[in-house]
C-alpha cells in the first residue's frame, strides 16, 4: 500500500513536470515602444495649433512587427491618464466645442524587427486648445499589442 502511494505520488509529479515544458517555437513576447531617444511627442509635450508635427518613436520586436495606430483625443474631462510615471500639469475640466480627433493606422514593412517610425500629423488651427491624450498602439505580427498613452497639450 505504502509503495503504491509513493509510486503514485512520483508518477503524478513526473506527469506534471515532464508534460509542462515550454513550447519553444511560439512567440510570446510583446513588442516594445521606445520613446527614450529622439522621440516626439513625449509625456507633457506641447504642440501648437496650425502646425504639422512629426511623430517619432522606435519600435522593437523579437520576431516581426505588425502595425501601429496613433490617436489624439481630448482629455478635457480628465478621463484619461497616461501610462507614464510623471504626471503633467492639467487645465481645469471643460466642455469640448470642437475638440481635435485624430485616428490613423500605419503599416510597418513585413518581417522587420526594429523600426524607426515617423508620421506627419497636421494640427488644424481651429480646434479647441487644452489637454489631449496621445495614444500609440503597436502590434507585432502575431497580434501581441503594447500601448503607450501620453498626456500632451495643444496650445
Amino acid at each position: 500500500m505504502k509503495n503504491l502511494k509513493f509510486l503514485l505520488g512520483i508518477f503524478t509529479i513526473a506527469f506534471i513536470t515532464s508534460c509542462s515544458s515550454d513550447n519553444a517555437e511560439i512567440d510570446t513576447e510583446y513588442p516594445v515602444i521606445d520613446i527614450t531617444q529622439n522621440a516626439f511627442p513625449i509625456q507633457c509635450s506641447t504642440i501648437e495649433r496650425g502646425q504639422t508635427i512629426t511623430f517619432k518613436a522606435i519600435f522593437n520586436d523579437n520576431v516581426a512587427l505588425g502595425s501601429y495606430s496613433l490617436d489624439i483625443h481630448h482629455n478635457f474631462d480628465h478621463h484619461t491618464h497616461s501610462t507614464e510615471v510623471a504626471s503633467c500639469e492639467m487645465e481645469a475640466v471643460k466642455k469640448p466645442v470642437k475638440p481635435m480627433l485624430f485616428i490613423n493606422n500605419y503599416t510597418i514593412p513585413n518581417g522587420v524587427k526594429s523600426y524607426e517610425a515617423t508620421a506627419q500629423i497636421s494640427i488644424p488651427a481651429d480646434v479647441d486648445p487644452g489637454d489631449y491624450h496621445f495614444m500609440i498602439r503597436l502590434t507585432d505580427k502575431e497580434g501581441w499589442q503594447t500601448l503607450k498613452g501620453l498626456s500632451i497639450k495643444i496650445l
Partner: protein, 735 residues
C-alpha cells in the same frame, strides 16, 4: 521539431495513463475501514442513483448535492463547484461566473436547469450565469461532448441542474438560509416554503443578495500599462445586488406527474470602473470611493425569466415526458457615452436609446421537447425530439452583434444495453437542423466616405441581412465494465456547435478588453471528436478515479488577434477576427480519497489540460482561457461529538502551476499556493437540524492571479481572505 514534440507529449501522456491505471488495478487488498454513511434518507437515494448512473453511463459524469455547495459556497454557483477537478470558472467579480469545463466555456458548455437549456448571453465574457445557487439541490456535470443529448453547443460539456425532489406527502415546511461574507461585505438570505397534500404540491423560494466592492491584496492594479490606485484595496465599483423568485407547483401520482416551474433571477452588478470603454480610464475617485456599496457606471442589469412545464406519464412499458418552456433574458449594460468613430462628441438629444445605455440584449426563447423511454429485452431505449426558437433584439447606442432569430430542431435515439451485470453498452445518434437569420444594422450617425475624390456623409452598414443554415449528424458509442471494485468506461463521440451571431456577424468594440471584434460569415459548424476513458476504484477506505480524454476539432472557432487596427468605429483599437483552426486537446483528471481512520481522510484532486492549435494563423498556440495544471490536497476530519451531528473540519491546499502556454493577448501566469479552511456541523434542535458552515477562503490573504479570470488580462489579483458563514434553518409544521 514540431512533430517530435507533439509525439513526445502524446507518449508522455499515454505512458502515465497506463502506469496509473496498472497501479490501481494491481491494488487488491481487502480494506478494513468503513466510511460512515451519514446522509439523510433523501440524499442517500440520490447517492445510490448517482452511483448507478456512473456505472451505466459511458460519459464522465460528476454529481454534487446541496451539502457540497453549502460547504464550498462561493459567490456564485460555478465558483462553488470549482473544487471538482476539470471544472473551473471564468469569474466576473465576486458575484458572477460562467462554467469552464476542461478549458471550454461560452457557447461550448451548456447549462440545463429543470430540463430546460439555459439561454442567456453566454457568448459574452462579462456574462455570469443567471442561476440562484440556493435553489440548486443537485448538479450533474458532464465533462465531455454531450451533443447527442442536448444538441448544438454541448461540445465541451454540460452542467445539468436537476429539478428539486418533490416534497413528501402531507408535509408543510421550509427553511431559511443566511450567508455572510467578509471580503465583499455580502449578506445573502434565502427563504424557502414548501408543502404537499397527497398529490398536489408547491415549492417556493425568495433569495436576496447584497454585496459591496470586493477586496484584493494590492493597492495598485496595472490595467495594461496604466497604473490604477485602489482605495483601501477595494476593487472600485464591483458591488452588486440580486433578487430571485422561484415557484414550482404541480400534481404527482404514481403514473402521472406534471410540474410547472417559474423563476425570475434579477441582478445588478458593477464593472471595475477603470477598465471599461475604449481605453483604460480615470474615474471620479471622490464619487466612486465614497461608498463601497453603491453601483455606479459602468454596470450591468440582467433579468432572466423562466417558465416551463414538465409532464411525465407512464403508459404500459413506455415512460413519456414532454416539456414546454419559455425564457426571457434581458440584459442591459450602462456606461457613460464615449464617442468613437464618427459619433458626435455630444450625445444627440433625440436618440432612440437613453444616453447611458451602452448595450441592450433582449432574448426570447420558446422550446418544446418530448421523449419516450422504453425497454425491449435488455435494451433501454430513449427516443426524442426537441424544437427551440429564439428571437433576439438589440438596443443601446453602441453596436457589437446584430439582432437575430434562430431555429433549432433535433431528433435523437439513445440505447443502453445491459449485456450482463458487469457490461453495459451505450449508443446514441442524433440529427440536428439549425437556421440563424441576422438582421441588417446601420449606424445611427454619418461617416465620411470618399469615392472618386468626393467625400460624402453616409450611414454605414454595420451588418447585413444574412441567413445561414446548418445541419449535423452526431453519434456516440461507449462501454462500461464493472467487475466489482473496479469500474472502467470508454466513450467515443462526436459533437457539434452551430456558429453564433457573435461569431458570424459581430462588428464593434468590446469595451471590456479594448478591442475591435469582427465576425466571419463563412464559418462552418464546429465539430468535435472525443475519446473519453474512465477508471474508478472503490473500496471501503480508498476511492480512486482517473479520467483521461483526447479531443480533436477539425474547425474550432477562434477569435484571432490580428496585427491590424480599426480606425473608424474601433477608435484605433486592435482588430480581432473570427477564424477556424484545427485543435487537438488532451488532458485528465484524477481524484482520490483515502480514509486513515473512520473520521480522518485525505483527498487529492488533480487536473491537467493541453490544447494546441494545429493550423491557422495561431498554429502552435494554445486556446484562450486554458487552465494550468493544478492539484488540490485536502484533509478532512469528521469526529463524533455527542451534541453535534456530522461535524467536519477540513483544510485544502491548492497548488496551481504556472501557465506559460498562452496566446495573444494573454499573459503568462505564475504559480499559486492557496489555502482554504472549512468547518461546520449540524446542530440537533427538535425534529430539524440547523446546519452551520464556516469557510475561510484564501487563508493567508495570498496575492495571486487566476489565469482564467475575466479580469486576468488587466493583472487583477484574486480576492483576498474571505470568511464565509452560512446557516440553514429548516422548519416544518406538523399537520
Amino acid at each position: 521539431m514540431k512533430n517530435a514534440l507533439s509525439i513526445y507529449w502524446k507518449y508522455c501522456f499515454l505512458l502515465i495513463s497506463v502506469l496509473i491505471s496498472a497501479e490501481a488495478v494491481s491494488q487488491n487488498k481487502p480494506s478494513e475501514k468503513k466510511p460512515e454513511i451519514k446522509e439523510l434518507n433523501e440524499v442517500l437515494v440520490n447517492g445510490n442513483s448517482t452511483e448507478k448512473r456512473k456505472k451505466e453511463e459511458s460519459v464522465n459524469v460528476e454529481t454534487v448535492n446541496n451539502s457540497f455547495i453549502q460547504r464550498n459556497l462561493g459567490g456564485s454557483l460555478m465558483q462553488s463547484l470549482q473544487k471538482l477537478p476539470g471544472v473551473k470558472t471564468i469569474s466576473i467579480g465576486s458575484g458572477g461566473s460562467k462554467p469552464l469545463i476542461r478549458g471550454l466555456s461560452f457557447n461550448q458548455v451548456i447549462v440545463v436547469e429543470n430540463g430546460l437549456k439555459h439561454e442567456g448571453q453566454q457568448w459574452g465574457a462579462d456574462h455570469g450565469l443567471e442561476i440562484d445557487q440556493y435553489a440548486v439541490n443537485r448538479v450533474e456535470i458532464i465533462k465531455g461532448p454531450s451533443s447527442f443529448i442536448y444538441g448544438s453547443d454541448a461540445v465541451g460539456g454540460a452542467v445539468n441542474i436537476k429539478p428539486l425532489p418533490l416534497p413528501s406527502q402531507n408535509t408543510f415546511g421550509g427553511s431559511v438560509d443566511l450567508t455572510g461574507k467578509s471580503n465583499n461585505a455580502q449578506f445573502g438570505s434565502s427563504f424557502n416554503l414548501f408543502g404537499r397534500n397527497e398529490n398536489w404540491f408547491f415549492d417556493s423560494r425568495v433569495t436576496r443578495m447584497d454585496y459591496g466592492d470586493y477586496r484584493v491584496p494590492t493597492d495598485v492594479v496595472h490595467v495594461y500599462s496604466y497604473a490604477v490606485p485602489l482605495y483601501k484595496n477595494h476593487l472600485r465599483n464591483t458591488a452588486g445586488r440580486e433578487l430571485d423568485f422561484h415557484l414550482s407547483t404541480g400534481y404527482s401520482q404514481e403514473h402521472f406527474k406534471s410540474v410547472f416551474y417559474f423563476s425570475n433571477v434579477h441582478t445588478k452588478s458593477g464593472f471595475f470602473a477603470n477598465a471599461h470603454g475604449l481605453e483604460p480610464r480615470n474615474v471620479d475617485l471622490e464619487l466612486h470611493d465614497k461608498s463601497s456599496r453603491d453601483i455606479l457606471m459602468p454596470y450591468q442589469q440582467v433579468n432572466h425569466l423562466k417558465v416551463s412545464n414538465t409532464t411525465s406519464f407512464q403508459f404500459g412499458n413506455h415512460a413519456f415526458e414532454t416539456q414546454i418552456g419559455f425564457q426571457n433574458n434581458f440584459r442591459r449594460e450602462y456606461s457613460h457615452y464615449v464617442n468613437h468613430g464618427y459619433m458626435p462628441p455630444i450625445y444627440p438629444e433625440e436618440m432612440y436609446a437613453p444616453q447611458d445605455l451602452e448595450r441592450q440584449y433582449d432574448k426570447d426563447v420558446w422550446s418544446f421537447s418530448a421523449k419516450d423511454e422504453f425497454r425491449i429485452q435488455n435494451h433501454q431505449i430513449t427516443v426524442g425530439s426537441n424544437v427551440v426558437f429564439q428571437q433576439n433584439e438589440i438596443g443601446g447606442w453602441s453596436f457589437l452583434i446584430p439582432a437575430f432569430s434562430q431555429f433549432n430542431a433535433g431528433l435523437f435515439a439513445y440505447d443502453k444495453i445491459e449485456l450482463n451485470e458487469k457490461w453495459f453498452l451505450n449508443g446514441a445518434i442524433r440529427y440536428d437542423y439549425g437556421k440563424i437569420k441576422m438582421k441588417s444594422y446601420y449606424d445611427w450617425f454619418q461617416s465620411p466616405v470618399s469615392e472618386n475624390n468626393q467625400t460624402e456623409l453616409e450611414y454605414l452598414q454595420r451588418s447585413q441581412d444574412l441567413t445561414k443554415t446548418f445541419d449535423s449528424f452526431t453519434w456516440s458509442i461507449g462501454a462500461n465494465y464493472n467487475p466489482g471494485k473496479l469500474s472502467l468506461k470508454a466513450n467515443l463521440g462526436s459533437s457539434f456547435r452551430m456558429p453564433i451571431a457573435k461569431e458570424l456577424a459581430s462588428n464593434g468594440v468590446n469595451y471590456h478588453y479594448f478591442r475591435f471584434e469582427k465576425g466571419n460569415p463563412n464559418l462552418n459548424a464546429e465539430r468535435s471528436y472525443q475519446l473519453d476513458l474512465g477508471m474508478e476504484w472503490k473500496t471501503q477506505n480508498w476511492t480512486f478515479q482517473f479520467t483521461p480524454f483526447a479531443n480533436y476539432f477539425p474547425n474550432f472557432i477562434y477569435l484571432n488577434p490580428t496585427s491590424a487596427h480599426d480606425i473608424y468605429y474601433g477608435a484605433g483599437n486592435q482588430v480581432f477576427e473570427y477564424e477556424q483552426s484545427k485543435v487537438f486537446r488532451y488532458g485528465a483528471e484524477l481524484q482520490t480519497r483515502y480514509y486513515f481512520l473512520k473520521s480522518l481522510s485525505a483527498e487529492i484532486g488533480a487536473e491537467y489540460l493541453y490544447s494546441e492549435q494545429k493550423s491557422g494563423s495561431k498554429k502552435g498556440y494554445t486556446l484562450p482561457f486554458s487552465p494550468p495544471p493544478s492539484v488540490l490536497f485536502g484533509l478532512n476530519y469528521e469526529p463524533q461529538i455527542s451534541f453535534l451531528k456530522e461535524p467536519y473540519f477540513s483544510v485544502d491546499y491548492r497548488f496551481t502551476a504556472q501557465q506559460n502556454n498562452i496566446v495573444p493577448p494573454e499573459k503568462k501566469t505564475a504559480e499559486s499556493h492557496v489555502f482554504n479552511l472549512a468547518f461546520g456541523s449540524k446542530v440537533k434542535t427538535g425534529k430539524q437540524d440547523i446546519s452551520i458552515n464556516i469557510q475561510i477562503q484564501n487563508l493567508f490573504n495570498t496575492k495571486y492571479l487566476n489565469h482564467t479570470s475575466f479580469y486576468r488580462l488587466i493583472e487583477l489579483p484574486e480576492a483576498g481572505r474571505n470568511i464565509i458563514v452560512s446557516m440553514k434553518i429548516p422548519f416544518s409544521f406538523s399537520r
